[in-house]
Assembly symmetry: C2
Homo-oligomer: 487 residues x 2
């Protein structure tokens, strides 16, 4: 159209097509020169080139996502150092791949040959916790639980609580827009990000957003950066909104015969107008794995459990907990109970927390992360059971059921290549089924590498083009974690 | 940099510089041909060319923001019609200016000569209210209060409540990321937008975001579009998140001798760890204007009032109301009271609601919209008093005090040109003072035209360039409301 209409046509985009070429189309620079420049410009103790050390920093926790050894890893200690590395990456035209703790589950932090991995985990200072403005300012390497603990000391609460919270960094949480258990009531990471300090695609250090409670000055580039997996900029400081600490939660538990019954109970909770502060599903495969490991004896009594919480204060909390029990029973619970003892509640939630590591003991776990309309959760859970049969694959289910975010866990015996192929087919079928039922291919883990095919199915070509246009506009040299997050 | 480094340099941006030229650099098309094409392609009853009718649709409510008569106004009735008009705008290279109810306060909907105004107010269908998924799907022309009323019938609540809620449209609220009274606890419009149907800068009809509770598939273009004032796309359908209706609020009121005392009380509320569901400030000028109009007798007893609310359930609400009273008294309240009678509370809040129309009876009102860290609210309120003296300008204050969002209202006698010049100087001084105190030049009204100079002072050149790059990427023909929202 631009050639016909002249004046103001679409800007040519020299980067876009390159992204799909092998090695992402970036020329393989002379690695020796790159390393020499990095060594010249960085303080001592930052540069890692030992292949064995690099191997541990060249990928995240995504099962089966490809990765290669980078040219170097830089353990950055300041925004200035990040800026310096990005400057060299622009000069040498090599990809930079930012990483935090590497707990991602989609391959978003996986390196390619010739690239520079920027490890931000040393930038772990909690700079400000301000009870009046109710905000915190942290380095990207601060561990989620560390921030939460520091806030708690001042009566404050940073809600986003991914299952990885003991290990994952706030920078990584921002890069993937991480969710968690309390998101069903309190939203995801992006809902708490006020301001970002970022090294952008031109190597400039910029501040996006603001620390005031509200503000609409200019486009919301802060939200655009959240969840962009380091493909639009590298976050070097984060200001997050905090909440006041909340009352002790009431915990409810329901046992169900089937995942479908449990799914129906979830919709009953929504229909009853309840707003739980957590609503988690754990299926038989998970319960058995936890029992095999920790001998909790759960799978003797339940096929599926739903764990709910409410943090409404005082008698409102007790009333909401009772109403949740009623919804469980309407949905077909075989047994249910509630407690306002936090420790007792935490013990019940331990089954949820332990499910993933318990399953990992059985073999490689490929974690799905689909999110559906609540009404379609029972149908999707049924489909997953059928897909497991169809492809002779063990599929366990944990789910943030209250917001329709399911995590089917595909487990394959170690070294069984045929099982792996069957699991990959099951993975594709789950994504296809989710899209048919009005869902999205990733609720909270991000696109990374694993969800690129699903993303291509979910988004229209016109929207894919808009995403690519934004990427080209903000990463003009095509060096920011190319090949991830968008198709 | 691109010319030196070659391969993958920044894309040239043919549109950017044009935006600052008179008439925004778009060639004046042959208006007769444009009108002929619009007439040919649109159904009967859509096209308005009568200058008198167009004059009422060529601007919003921003005092002193410039506007011109457009070539035509189209009263669109469907996304297809919007798409058709954008297609012709691309073909003829004329600006399109979307508008809802025209209640904006920054000039974001103001027309330029030769442009097409797209009036979306007829697209006012409430398509879905879904109590299970807790979402609504509406046309952009749906009036805020109409959506709220329809939700209430099903026990649901759409929180964003700008003062314009009886007249403003959801589309306009999205375009400006409108705030309101309950934002202090419940966030702004953008926090509720799930999915947008948009005609983009290439004239394509696209869906951005999703209707599931969570989702991170691709860049968050939804949040990018929110608050972009029609400069990145024209919204033709909106899916919003809803909440369950909340308990009856407790209302508290405090009288203060000075705005500074009231400002201190606001910080005391924050220090006490309280989370009011509303915290509004109304100053002496407003109280006198309301008394002069409605004879409420407020200004006899108070110089400044703070109005607070809490919607915590049951005894927690009563306790929070009492704690707010304590904070008022610590801050220097001369009198305070609380009520859990909703009607009595509403009567108190009437003073807040009536302040703006009461002041408008005195002359043209230029509305400021700054947002500051809470800690700096007292200092800013003092500065505003001094600025009023310095420039011999009457400045009234209403404020969403709980989130630091102040609305100084600059009032000039009708027809007094000298007073207008002094008021404009006061306006500039307020913006400068706000930036010095760590604030932003617009908390919730948007940049439009009035805040373009302030925006240039607030954002760094590098961030301004990023904004311009995004604009060029998504509006390649430079036709989407050019000259607004970004510098």
């Amino acid at each position: 159209m631009s050639s016909v209409l002249g004046l103001c046509g679409p800007a040519p985009n020299p980067c876009r097509n390159d992204l799909s070429l092998p090695g992402y189309g970036l020329p393989v620079t002379d690695t020796a020169t790159l390393l020499k420049d990095l060594h010249r410009d960085l303080p001592a103790g930052r540069l890692v080139t030992d292949p064995q050390v690099m191997a541990g920093l060249a990928h995240d926790d995504a099962e089966w996502a490809p990765w290669e050894l980078p040219a170097a890893v830089v353990r950055a200690e300041s925004a200035r150092e990040v800026q310096l590395v990005v400057g060299l990456a622009i000069e040498h035209r090599v990809p930079v791949i930012p990483r935090g703790s590497g707990t991602g589950l989609s391959g978003g932090a996986n390196a390619v040959a010739g690239s520079i991995v920027i490890d931000l985990s040393r930038m772990n200072e909690i700079k400000i916790i301000d009870p009046v403005e109710r905000l915190a300012v942290v380095g990207p390497g601060v561990i989620n639980d560390d921030l939460r603990a520091a806030c708690a000391q001042q009566g404050l609460w940073y809600p986003p609580d991914p299952a990885s919270s003991p290990w994952s960094s706030i920078g990584g949480n921002v890069a993937t827009n991480a969710g968690g258990v309390c998101c069903v009531k309190y939203g995801v990471t992006g809902d708490y990000v006020l301001e970002l300090e970022v090294v952008n695609g031109r190597g400039e250090l910029v501040r996006l957003g603001r620390r005031t409670a509200k503000g609409v000055a200019g486009y919301d580039l802060t939200s655009l950066l959240v969840g962009s997996e380091g493909t639009l900029g590298i976050v070097t400081e984060i200001s997050v909104r905090l909440r006041q600490q909340r009352p002790i939660e009431h915990t409810v538990v329901g046992y169900f015969d089937s995942v479908t019954d449990a799914g129906v109970a979830v919709t009953k909770i929504a229909e009853a107008g309840l707003t739980p502060s957590a609503l988690e599903l754990v299926d038989r495969h998970c319960l058995e794995a936890v029992d095999a490991w920790k001998n909790m004896g759960l799978s003797a009594d339940a096929n599926v459990i739903l764990l709910g919480r409410t943090d409404a204060p005082g008698e409102a909390g007790a009333a909401e907990a009772s109403a949740m029990i009623t919804a469980f029973e309407t949905g077909g619970a075989t047994w249910s109970a509630q407690t306002d003892d936090q420790q007792e509640g935490d013990a019940l939630f331990a089954a949820r927390r332990l499910a993933y590591p318990a399953l990992e003991r059985l073999g490689p776990v490929l974690t799905e992360d689909i999110c559906l309309p609540l009404r379609n959760v029972p149908a999707m859970l049924s489909r997953i059971e059928q897909i497991a049969v169809d492809h002779d694959t063990k599929i366990a289910n944990i789910a943030h059921a209250g917001d329709g975010n399911l995590h089917p866990l595909l487990i394959t015996p170690i070294g069984d290549e045929q099982a792996k192929i069957r699991a990959q087919q099951a993975f594709s079928d789950i994504i296809a089924g989710c899209l048919e039922l009005g869902g999205t291919v990733t609720g909270e883990h991000g696109v990374g590498l694993l969800k690129l095919p699903g993303l291509a199915d979910e988004l229209s070509p016109a929207v894919q083009q808009m995403q690519a246009d934004v990427k080209a506009a903000l990463d003009p040299y095509g060096i920011l974690n190319p090949g991830k997050a968008i198709v």
